[in-house]
């Protein structure tokens, strides 16, 4: 899994800002944590741009070919099926009807790349979510209970932290036998949940020391209530950032696995398998390689910039000039 870009400092849970006092005559909006963060985020032009591009990519991947029960815009208007083989129309150059041209089976690349992106992104989100869930469970139990259990669990994690995900993912896929959406998610999750657990655990430990937590415990709140009502919401910011950092890693991971040949079965495609096919045709049809790779790169970049922006926005200390 790619490593998350620089975490230059450990994250602290954001401190809620006190409400502004009313001054005479001027109604003042009560500022909240999230609104402040939102405003700070908007000031970061790079992050805003990244957010826009990210949304555009999502719209492209989900609305063009349609997903689940929702029909796609492009596929309905032009009546194109990204998996429809048509030997009369192979390798057509880009045109209005086929903005990216067609591949060697005559399939429209514009919708195919969109569908592929849908698959890659969905796997990405699914795996990230799974990683999050496992990580939260592991990390919060470890951090909250503390003591010897925490020690043991962290030792285990520390050692596994740096293990490369690819061999494990390959083994997992070989065991499961088939490669489809769910097995990819499982394989990618198994291989990368360590980071999430570590982060959550660090957060939990930090927060445990906070006064309001102690107050809650002093009042007699049970540990799971404290966990759910106090600790987790305050780590939300960190977790959101984590999602945007982990998503590109998973997408890249899926691309690598597809490239090696452990990808989704045809005729479905993901960006990774499209890139692998594109590589073989590079001499004659370079676009077939450039397009999926640029999309991957765009997604990775945007997600990272968004994460950076979120981090700056949620932590008030950074932006003092």
């Amino acid at each position: 899994m790619a490593i998350n870009p620089p975490e230059a400092r450990t994250l602290q849970a954001p401190v809620p800002a006190p409400p502004l006092a009313e001054s005479a005559g001027e109604p003042v909006q009560q500022s909240s944590l999230w609104r402040d963060a939102y405003r700070r985020y908007l000031r970061n032009k790079g992050a805003v741009a990244a957010g826009i591009v990210f949304t555009i990519i999502l719209l492209y991947c989900f609305l063009i070919p349609g997903f689940w029960i929702i029909p796609g815009i492009w596929t309905t208007i032009f009546d194109i099926d990204p998996n429809q083989v048509n030997f009369a129309e192979t390798y057509l150059p880009p045109s209005i009807e086929h903005p990216f041209g067609t591949d060697q089976f005559g399939r429209d690349l514009w919708t195919r790349v969109a569908k592929g992106g849908q698959l890659s992104i969905t796997i990405g989100f699914a795996a990230t979510f799974a990683i999050l869930v496992i990580g939260i469970a592991y990390g919060s139990i470890s951090g909250f209970i503390g003591g010897r259990l925490d020690n043991a669990m962290m030792r285990f994690l520390d050692a596994l932290y740096g293990l490369p995900y690819l061999p494990f993912a390959i083994l997992a896929l070989a065991i499961i036998g088939t490669v489809n959406f769910w097995t990819m998610v499982i394989a990618l999750t198994i291989a990368s949940w360590f980071t999430a657990a570590r982060i959550v655990r660090g957060q939990v430990i930090t927060l445990k020391q906070n006064d309001y937590v102690r107050a809650a415990q002093a009042v007699g709140a049970r540990w799971h209530r404290v966990l759910v009502r106090h600790l987790l919401p305050n780590t939300l910011g960190v977790l959101v950032i984590f999602v945007f950092l982990e998503l590109p890693n998973v997408v890249l991971g899926e691309a690598f696995l597809s490239f090696i040949g452990l990808g989704i079965n045809p005729p479905d495609a993901s960006w990774g398998s499209l890139a692998s096919e594109g590589r073989e045709a590079y001499r004659t049809h370079p676009l077939d390689l450039w397009i999926p790779c640029l999309f991957i790169a765009a997604l990775v970049l945007c997600a990272n910039f968004i994460a950076d922006g979120l981090r700056d926005a949620l932590d008030p200390r950074t932006k003092e000039t």
């Binding site: 790619a2 050692a159 596994l160 293990l163 083994l171 690598f256 790779c293």
Partner: protein, 313 residues
Amino acid sequence: MAAFIIRRIFWTIPVLLLVIFMIFVMMRQIEGNPFRRTERAVPPAVQANLERKFNLDKPWYMQYLLYVKGVFTLDLGPSLTQTDRDVMDIVKEHFPRSVKLGVFAFMWAIIFGIPAGVIAALRPNTVYDYFLMFFSSIGFALPSFFVATLLIYYFANKLNVVPTNGWPLGFWDVDSRVILPSLALGLYPMAYFARLVRGTMLETMQQDYVRTARAKGLRWKNIVARHVFRNSLIPVVTATAPLFGLVITGTFVIEIIFSIPGIGRYFINSVSSRDYAVVMGITVLTSIVIILANLFVDIAYGFLDPRTRTSRT
């Protein structure tokens, strides 16, 4: 300090056993007969013979224990599919090549990535900064197989300045074949370091003690060299261990594209052919290397940041 080191080392052993066990279990779950290489089915008598030869007929816990014993005596057993080679031979021959690839990749990363980050930090929001960060973003986001394909196509096929594939085999041999693969592999850590160094330096420069030093009138370049740079190195060192694991991952793909006879390609082939011995050998070895790398980083971190030596959260 010594206690710290000893404690860390002590803990690696159970972790290693656990890793071996996990891989052992995983490997056994995979369907497929390692002894069948052609369309012909293996006659049952022959199959039985081979299984006996490789201890595959013993109960699983016996196999596991035998294997663990083997690991610690550096005997990882014979390869199941290449009957004339031991796993240890295979590893000894191929692993150094992957290591060399990784080392060269890291060299690119350190030699170009760190100075890039320094420059960008010292000239924030200027042309240099944007330029460097732009390129590091590209290096960061583009998948390495893409970069590799482009590099081969333009530098090896079109311009013909370097060979398209291959790898110098002797341990100390270096020739032009190392350039493209290590560059393709090193681009990601390079970009990573650049951004990391820039980020930490910028942050360090805002710290109070730096401001104090400036206010006191110390020369800026001294401040940068003595305080800012050194303190920025700590996160870099910390990042090295997981980056290392990442580089190892990257070698799988790079080795295929550049036809480098390293351990990554061997691993994939061995999983395909169900050569349990080789798969386990490679995974165990890689895990050991990474666990050791983590250990090393932890210790180095202990030296660099005195705060960690006393407490351990």
